[in-house]
Structure formats: C-alpha cells, structure tokens
Amino acid sequence: MRSLHAFAGGVHPLGNKNTDVLPSIHLHGFPEVELLMQQHIGPPCTCVVKPGDHVDVGTLVGRADKPMSVPIHSSISGTVKEVHYVVSANGAPVEAVRIESDFKHSINPFCRPPKIESFEDFIQMIRDSGLVGLGGAAFPTYIKLNPPKNKMPDTLIVNAAECEPYITADYRQICEHPDDIIDGIIEVMKWLEIPKTIIGVEDNKPLVTRIFSHELKKRVFKTGRHPDIEVRTLKTIYPQGAEKMLIYTLTGRKVPPGKLPIDVHTLVMNVSTLRFIGLYLKEGVPLTRKRMTLDGSALNTPGNFIVPIGARIQDIIAAAGGTREEPKKIIMGGAMMGVALDRIDHGIIKANNAILVFGSEETTLPPESPCIRCARCVASCPMDLIPCGIDKASRLRDPAMLEKYHVMDCIECGCCTYACPSKRFLTQSIKNGKVMVRAERARAKQEEALRASSEQKGGSAPS
C-alpha cells in the first residue's frame, strides 16, 4: 500500500546503492580498537578499566552513571593499553580506551540472554545492552522506550527508508535477518503495549516488502496469529528517512518544531536498532559490532562489513580490501549528512553506518558564487524554510533575522545545498547561524537573570 501523504520539498540525488546485492562480511583480526567514552547523545561514560586489565568481548568498559547515558562494552578480547583523551571525529576532546587484541575473540562468560519479567526489566535490559539509535542520531534507546506515562505511543514506525545515497547497511540487515527484526518489533510492541506497527520502505527496494510479508506469514504459521505489522512503500526521495518526514508520510501527523515524535504519540525506530533488540534477547551479547557500508570509487571492494566498534577507520578500509587510488575525501556517514574526515585513525562509534572513500572523480568542491535567488533551496526544503534567507542572515551575523527565518527548525538534511546552482554552502552557514542564535539566547537569558536579581536586591535595573 502506498502512502497518501507526501512532504513538500526533497531532492533526488543519485541512489548509488552499489552494494545492495553483496552479502555482509564479518571482519575480524583488528590489532587494536579505540573505544570512545561518549558514543551517544548525552553525558559521557565513566571509564572502569585501567591499563593492563584483561577484557573479553562484552566486558563493561564505560559505566553509565548519569541519566541519558548508556554503557560501553569492549568489542574485542585483549589487554587495555591506554586510557587517554583523543579528538573525536566531530572535533571535541573525549576520553578513549585503547585495547590491544589477543586475537582470541573470547566472549565474556557473564553474557547470557536476559530474563525479562516486567517493563522495568525490559528498559534496564535495553540500557545494559548499550543500545543507541543506530540510524545515525545515537539517541539512547532506553530513553526513547520509556516515554512519560501521559504520552504513550500508539504507533511504532520502523524506519527502513534508508534514503541516503550509497548506504545499504539497513537493506542488507533486512535481507539477512528479517526474523530478528520482527522479534525486536514484537518485543517492543509487547512491553510498550503499542497496538500497531508500520514499516516504511522506499520504493527503490521492492524486495524488502516481499521479505517482510514472507516473514510475517511464517509467524502466522508458528503462532497462529498475524502480528499487527504493516509494510508500506514510500516514494524514493531524500530525506524520506528523516524522522519528521517519515511520520508525516506514514501517519499524516506533523511533529511541531522543537518537539519529539512521542509528542504525536509515535515511536520511530531504525530497523538495525530493532534487529539488535531481537538478537540481544537470544544471545545476550551487548552492542559491540556494527554493520557498515563501505563504498566510493577509491575502494577496491565496496560492500557491507560487520566490524567491531572502536576499530580504526584506516584498519577497516585495509581489512575490507584496501584502496585502488589515493583517497581524496573520506566521509564518516552518508554523502548528504556525513562528516568529511581530516584523518582516519578515529575508532568508529555505535551510530556510524557508512564510510565513503571518494576518489578524484567524486571529490569535487565547486567554488561558491553569489545567490541568484532561484528559489531551488526553498522548493527543496522539507521543513518549508527559506535557506537562502537564513544563509544571508547568518553571513550578516544577525541573530534577530535568523530567528525570523526559523533557523532552529532546520534539520540539516542538506537538500538546499544539494540543489543550489550557485554551489553555496547553505547547510554550513545555517549551522553557524544556529550557534549564533544559541549564544544570543544564552546572553539574553543571562541578562534577564541579572536584571531580575538586581531588582530583587532593590536596586534599579542596570541600564
């Protein structure tokens, strides 16, 4: 069944799903991993190992002490060599643990399938597994699955859109483990008492619909009843997989600016996240490995690879077949929203789902020219913003004008920059604008507090 709603805007970049027919390959034998102590949105973990400690696969390395934080486990067996600070891919300093492999791949004996008797057990289990949203945002899943009692979701939306060019990791996940995904969906539906699930898939992946229908038929044979799970085909358009767009296309609900999907009683989860829940219930091994797409013209053998979290990007590229030409640009994530790296000794984190190694043919950086107001950015913006106006305000460093253009509602999908014939760095400039607005809001708040406190003391307001 096709969806009735369609969001305005969006762009059609070349799909470049070159790796969709290639089965995923497990990569082992990494000499060392570097585990960052912050792999989620939220406060960092506390490191509980010291140099010289022996760890197995699944041993706790970073303990989650604060709310919004999830634990981090060792992804290989070996010896802790160093606990130090490194610069993460997005430029922030973060504590990291370097573990040298003993190449035994021994699994921590305490890892066993969890027993769940209540909703609280379920949430604790999700947190202990170290699970974060694997679609890319790395939002702690246990927070998402534990909404306030007055805002219980009535629909679970499974994000299988995978609208980013090049990336096929979710697609391979579906092809290879549809049973685990359905298990995960059923668990989430059971413990959160969600009556209905919709799986959203773009129409460039027709196989997915058939795989899920087949899998659901098998369930009917096994359990005698059909779970209330529906697969719906979506138009192939970027950013179909963006949370707000996906919810709107599938349910017609619009998430208001600054609100979360749960505010419209919807829960959105990525297929890979659900597959991990299904798997964890069977095996009990925390999140230590990640499926990622390696693609780009500089690679010898593009494909999907399952790698230990913390493995260094250079080691992954080498293990996956190496390069056939000098890479010109290496991107962590997709071509539309990924981060271009300046060095490749970073360890990958839980939310990474692709490494793109661009050779000279794909690496282009056309020079910026003045805006000609062609309005292609306006037409392509899925959030109905005016990117060229925000761009202007941002370059003028004018916070009031930025607010007028609703800069904070931008989801940084990159459609405007993709469409711009003047090749302007709109997304970059909009991001700068957000920083200015945040600074201005903080300043205004501080001023307000200052005025309030001085009035309380009985003095006059500072002029």
Partner: protein, 337 residues
C-alpha cells in the same frame, strides 16, 4: 594522504548558474531567430551589439572594481539578449550601447553584480531608453527592407498593434501570433516565445506560477473590464455567437500584442527580482497582471509590461516578507492523535 574536508552534503546537483543562463539563452533563440527573420539583417546587428556591449561593460566594470571576472556565468549575455529583444529594429546603434551600459553598470554592477540588482537590468534599460529617447524607441517599423534582408518588404512606419485595436489596419490574430506585425525584435513572434517558455518549464528553469498568474490575471481583467466586456456587451447581450467572438477576440488580441508574453515568460520570471515562495510568485504575477491592465487601458504610455514588472520588482522584498510561510509542523491540529 591529503584529504579534502568540507561540510556536508558531499554530492551536488549538476545545475550551475551558467547552465541555467545557458538554458535561458537557448529558450530565447526561437524568438531571436523569428525577430531576425521579420526585421532583417539590422536586427542581427542590434542583437549582437547589445550582447557584446553587455559582456564588455560587465568585464570592464569587474576589472575596475577589482572583483573576480563574472562574464563566464553568462548572465551578462542573457541581459544583452533580453535588452535586444526589447528594442525596435530601427534604434540607432549608439543607443543600444547606452542601454547596455545602463543595464550592466548602473542597475547591475553598482548594486553588487549578479544576484544583487533590485530590478531587472534589461527592463530598467528599456525604460531608461524610452524616457531618454522616446521617439527612437517608439517608431515602430514593419519589416525593414534592407538590401540583404531575408524578407524584402518596403519599410513602413507603423504603430504597434496596441495603438490600433479596433482600427481597420489592425493585423489579424494569426499575424499577431506568428509575429507578422510591428514591434520590438523579440516580442513579435508569440509562437517562438511560447516554444522557449515550454523549454524553460521542461528544463525546470522556471516554474509556471508567475507566467500563469500574470497572464491569467490580465486575461480575466480584460474579459471583465475591457472595451468589449462581460459586464457591458456592446452588441446588446451575450445570446449571439458574435458577441462571444468579439469578447475573446479582444482578449486574445491584447495577449498577443505588445511585450506581454515576452515579459511574462522571460522578464517577470527573472530569479533575482521575483519572490521566493510559490505564494509570493502567484502574488507577484497577480500584481503584474493588474498593473499591466491598468496601464494599458487607463495609462497614456504603451509601456504596460515594462512598468508593471519593474514596479513589482521593487515590491519583491516586501512580498517575500508577507508570504514567508510557517515551518513544517507549525500547525494547531497536532493535538489530535
């Protein structure tokens, strides 16, 4: 290993400023060739002179201002071609150069070059020339018979069809449509202009909102308040076929004469000086239509299209402000779920 670092997205659409300008030039070619066919070899010279002087002024300007050279984006060539489309074939050559200078130097470069002009340079230059040299700009010639003209007809000084609606010597609708009439070089052949407009639509260079709103508004106003209109039928009432024919004859006549189609497709849709949102574009086209109607029917200058577009150009920043929509999700009905 040297890696390029840039902000996402890392893939870009193929369209560039110069590819868009190239498409506009291609879309103008049918009308250009039609103009050359009807007005002879002098039209070729006027067109080429206009383009060359626009590019030349752009180059000199950027050089003097010590800015980067922008002639490769082809915008100056588009301005030159559009200006030529808006000139009568008999115009003295020095006036063409003055017009090009005004368009590029005063209207475009003095305000910061491409993307920063607040009115359409070609239209501004045309209005400047009309005011500065009213006689040369309004002496229309029907088919100049120059010695190696493609079509040899004796030069006849003639009024544009606009000034002779209802008179005996008014050309037929078909002549108006294919361009067999007096007028500026590029505005005569409606058929060629429509072909160009279709090309722009297919190539997604322009969207239909402004031309549709402009022409639609204008037609409705002519039908309602024109000389033969729906409210006051000249031949009594609208029970006879003749009355309806008269009604639509005038509407089609007004549509096919003057620079309306050229203006609606190529001038009003100029990116820099038209609004950004669909709502804004519709409002802009509506405004152009109303102003053109008022100037044509109640004004004393035959410059309806130019003046209405330039006035709406000036209003564009305000239209952008008025029509700025709400971000996705900013609605009240979210409460239900």
């Amino acid at each position: 290993m040297k890696l390029q670092v840039s902000h996402s997205p890392h893939v870009r659409d193929k369209a560039t400023t110069s590819s868009i300008m190239r498409d506009v030039i291609i879309a103008l070619l049918p009308a250009t060739f039609a103009g050359w066919y009807y007005f002879g070899v002098r039209a070729v010279f006027v067109t080429l002179l206009s383009i060359v002087s626009c590019i030349g002024f752009e180059y000199i300007c950027r050089k003097i201002m010590k800015r980067n050279n922008t002639i490769t984006d082809l915008s100056a060539a588009v301005t030159g071609l559009l200006l030529a489309m808006n000139l009568p074939v008999t115009i003295p050559f020095y006036m063409v150069i003055i017009g090009a200078c005004f368009a590029i130097v005063v209207v475009k470069q003095m305000f910061g070059g491409i993307g920063n002009n607040f009115v359409n340079p070609a239209i501004a230059a045309r209005i400047f020339l009309v005011i500065a040299f009213p006689k040369a700009m309004t002496s229309w010639t029907l088919h100049t018979g120059s010695w190696f003209s493609m079509k040899s007809v004796d030069a006849v000084s003639s009024a544009t069809p606009l000034t002779m609606v209802g008179t005996k010597e008014a050309p037929s609708l078909w002549d108006l449509f294919i361009g067999n009439k007096a007028g500026c070089i590029g505005e005569v052949c409606i058929l060629a202009l429509l072909i160009g407009g279709l090309y722009l639509l297919i190539r997604h260079v322009i969207r239909p909102w402004i031309p549709a709103a402009y022409i639609g508004t204008f037609l409705i106003l002519v039908l309602l308040f024109g000389h033969t209109n729906l409210l006051h039928a000249p031949s009594g009432d609208y029970t006879t076929l003749q009355a309806w024919t008269d009604l639509f004859y005038e509407a089609c006549y007004m549509l096919c004469s003057g620079g309306l189609v050229l203006g609606a497709i190529f001038m009003a849709t100029d990116y820099v000086t038209s609004p950004l949102t669909v709502k804004g574009k519709l409002l802009f086209g509506f405004g152009c239509g109303v102003l053109t109607f008022l100037i044509r029917y109640y004004g004393n200058m035959a410059e309806g299209v130019s003046f209405s577009i330039i006035l709406m150009n000036i209003l564009t920043p305000h239209i952008d402000d008025w029509t700025m929509g709400k971000p996705f999700g900013e609605v009240k009905e979210n409460a239900k779920a």
